[in-house]
Amino acid sequence: MDFKDMFQSKYRSILYSYLKESTEAALYQGQKFSRKAMEHQISPEEIINVHCTALKELFPDLPQEVFASCDFLLEVMMDYGLAYQEHQSLRDQQLEIRSEIEIAASVQDNLLETKIPQIDVLDIGAISIPAKQMNGDYYRFVQDKQLISIAVADVIGKGIPAALCMSMIKYAMDSLLESRVHPQHVLENLNRVVENNVDSSMFITMLYGIYDSYEHTFTYASAGHEPGFYYQSSKDTFSDILAKGLVLGVDPNASYHQYEKKVEPGDMIVLLSDGVTESRTEEGFIERSVITDFIRKYQHLPAQEMVENIYRDLERIQNFEIRDDFTLIILKRKV
């Protein structure tokens, strides 16, 4: 007996026991059968065929019209059958794509991994959460003796194209020996690389700075990046880290301004991407003061705990639906 025959006779016996005594148990048998049928990719119209054949075998004296109606039903179900097949095939394709993205995301994680420098005069915390599977935000720390370079970047767009762009930035920076190069020149260099290599509607925002842990100065330049915050401990106030500069990738001849800040004990440097400041609640976009309020709330904690708590609070006020990649970095000069 081949599979079809087995299938047919199994269906007939389940149907028969249900008709004899309409029990829950018999219905349950039908459910199990249906699951098995889907596993074997039996189409809807094949089920109808099996049902009608079983009817013919069990009740051969039924009016001819009943069997004729079976043929009619079969015809009507053809399109459902085709739709079902297409659905199965799309589902398979989706599973394949999903597993490729997972592999890509884990390759990206490995490539872009950056260690947070451990240095006794600074407490550094960092968090970066993608909105989808691949992160279009990037941050990077490099420690070279007393110099710590920090880069925070946001590639426009989300998902795979943004992440591929980010890998390009990482490799461009690798080849620069950054800590010997002034922030404004790092950006000028990167700008040329990006402009040469991305499509005309892509660009990248970046804030790049170097913290000198002997002099306690932070020297930085920005390419159109969302302004961070500076907390001045002596005055207990927050101010915006405003630095002017054109986003990377638009004008190959762009030049960048450099700024320097003296950092006192207790001061904090807060760097972020616009996924933080563009948070939205039902009332609309949040004010920047909402973020500084959260920073104050957790100020007494170590920097890493601060960023994790602030992320959780901002996630909560958006009903756990962050729309853009979220990156937040806090550097505290220890007292």
């Binding site: 005309s200 892509m202 660009f203 925002t205 159109g224 990046h225 302004p227 054109l246 638009v250």
Partner: protein, 104 residues
């Protein structure tokens, strides 16, 4: 998440009115509608963003691409009626220094 794009030509320029949200979903539609306008030489395009309630970086990218295309063909781009929030976005990214943003 619908985007409404209204275009008309007068003797001098092509005027475009955009309403809705410009984000990763609607940006491709915007790009498809605007880029063809930049194809000829010396095209002048004025775009009103009065009814644009949201613009993210993908949307900015459409304007950047349009600007570059126009510049290549010696054309001009002007953006008008930006809300404070949109103005800030163009200022922070430095794009307000290269794309003409009218203040009224």
């Amino acid at each position: 998440m619908n985007l409404l794009i209204d275009k008309y030509h007068n003797n001098v320029d092509t005027v475009v009115k955009i309403a809705g949200e410009i984000d990763a979903f609607t940006a491709p539609q915007l790009r498809d509608e605007l880029l063809p306008l930049a194809e000829g030489k010396n095209q002048s395009i004025v775009i009103s963003l009065k009814d644009v309630s949201y613009l993210d970086s993908t949307g900015l990218g459409v304007f950047v691409g349009l600007f570059k295309q126009l510049k290549k063909n010696e054309g001009e781009l002007k953006l008008v009626d930006l809300s404070d929030r949109l103005k800030r976005l163009f200022e922070i990214t430095g794009l307000s220094n290269i794309i003409t943003i009218a203040t009224n």
